[in-house]
């Protein structure tokens, strides 16, 4: 399979900031001997160079669909990048200190595009939800309307609570400290439900508001 190698090499060596960089020992495929290489992580691409000053990477590891595990049994500060599937390669790397090993494992395990996309989608939904909640406070017209008698203007076909605002958001289900939210099906489903619910209520409220304004001279 062809790969746009020249562009890849350019991406590796250009001055866009690297997410991580440093020396690591890479265990050779055939002999098991470790070779010291200069590693550069950019996005989901882990490049490795023979020397820090090398103009082109020797190789790259595409970090999608992999897990990163410690395999530090002999105090070598070693860890492995493991891919699923039969006959898949496992890359064994070793850092020069415990701190470096931990930092690399952390960085590499969250480097995938997939992971980043998950986080972005979560934030996107959070922002949409907050914007919906915030709208009543921001608009002076709506603040005025809140002081008006609390009629249920959304009575027609609406099961929502009486009043103009979307239902309050229950406390978020947070993943345990420090860990990325691996299972996002529950909050995401709720976010979508809340958004749909909230936009329906917002629409009905808008209609009610327009009717109110129509009634005033």
């Amino acid at each position: 399979m062809k790969l746009n190698e020249r562009s890849l090499a350019f991406y590796a060596t250009c001055d866009s900031p690297a997410d991580s960089a440093g020396f690591l020992y890479k265990r050779g495929e055939r002999h098991g001997a470790y070779h010291r290489r200069w590693f550069v992580l950019k996005g989901n691409m882990l490049f490795y160079f023979e020397e820090r000053e090398s103009r082109e990477p020797v190789g790259v590891i595409v970090l999608e669909g992999c897990t990163v595990e410690l395999c530090d049994s002999r105090g070598e500060f070693a860890f492995a990048i493991r891919f699923g599937g039969a006959k898949s390669r496992t890359y064994v790397l070793a850092a020069e200190s415990h701190a470096a090993m931990e930092a690399w494992v952390k960085a590499l395990s969250r480097a995938s595009f997939d992971y980043l996309r998950l986080v972005v989608r979560e934030l996107e939904q959070q922002l949409a939800r907050r914007e919906l909640e915030r709208a009543p406070e921001q608009d002076p017209e709506r603040a005025l309307e809140r002081r008006a008698p609390r009629e249920n203007g959304c009575a027609v076909g609406c099961e929502a609570e009486a009043g103009p605002r979307p239902p309050p958001v229950p406390p978020r289900c947070r993943a345990s400290g420090g860990e990325p939210a691996g299972n996002t099906t529950e909050p995401s489903a709720f976010s979508r439900l809340h958004e749909r619910y909230g936009s329906e209520v917002a629409r009905l409220r808008q209609q009610w508001l327009e009717r109110q304004q129509g009634q005033q001279p």
Binding site: M1, R6, G43, N44, M45, V62, F83, L123
Partner: protein, 149 residues
């Protein structure tokens, strides 16, 4: 450059964000438009012969420019070689625009900028850093100030 081909081939088999049969021309002398199955998966664009399971090639979509060429046609080029273009001729202008939009958002760098944007907006609104619950708020790659782009 060595790369983990087996894993990349596996990636090519994943469900795509977008896939279609499109006429494609690679920037090689004498090459013409050929019908290819083009598949967008994460920040890679794979292209296959329409009857084959394994891709002929893959393009990493970082530091690239997506340009509308003539009607129904767009191209992908990379910033270090802007004249070397991969051309794609779509069936309709609509399809062309859809692909341009999708490809412009396909890079890791774009995703990262989106994350920083949302993080910032939420922080302004709530006073809290939404990345804290993921334990990634300290990562340099998500800091607003450090990214020069």
């Amino acid at each position: 450059m060595r790369y983990n081909e087996r894993e990349l081939l596996c990636l090519a088999r994943q469900p795509a964000e977008k896939a279609a049969e499109i006429l494609m021309r690679v920037p090689k002398k004498g090459s013409g438009l050929k019908r290819r199955l083009v598949k967008l998966v994460v920040n890679f664009l794979f292209y296959f012969r329409t009857d084959e399971a394994e891709p002929i090639g893959a393009l990493l979509l970082e530091h690239c420019r997506i340009t509308k060429e003539e009607e129904n046609v767009f191209s992908i080029s990379f910033i270090e070689e802007p004249e070397r273009k991969y051309c794609f001729e779509c069936d309709s202008e609509e399809q062309c625009q859809e692909w341009i939009e999708a490809l412009k958002r396909a890079s890791y760098e774009f995703m990262r900028r989106s994350l920083i944007f949302y993080r910032n907006e939420i922080q302004k609104m709530t006073g809290k850093d939404p990345l804290e619950q993921y334990g990634i708020s300290e990562e340099a790659r998500f800091q607003l100030a450090t990214r020069k782009q």
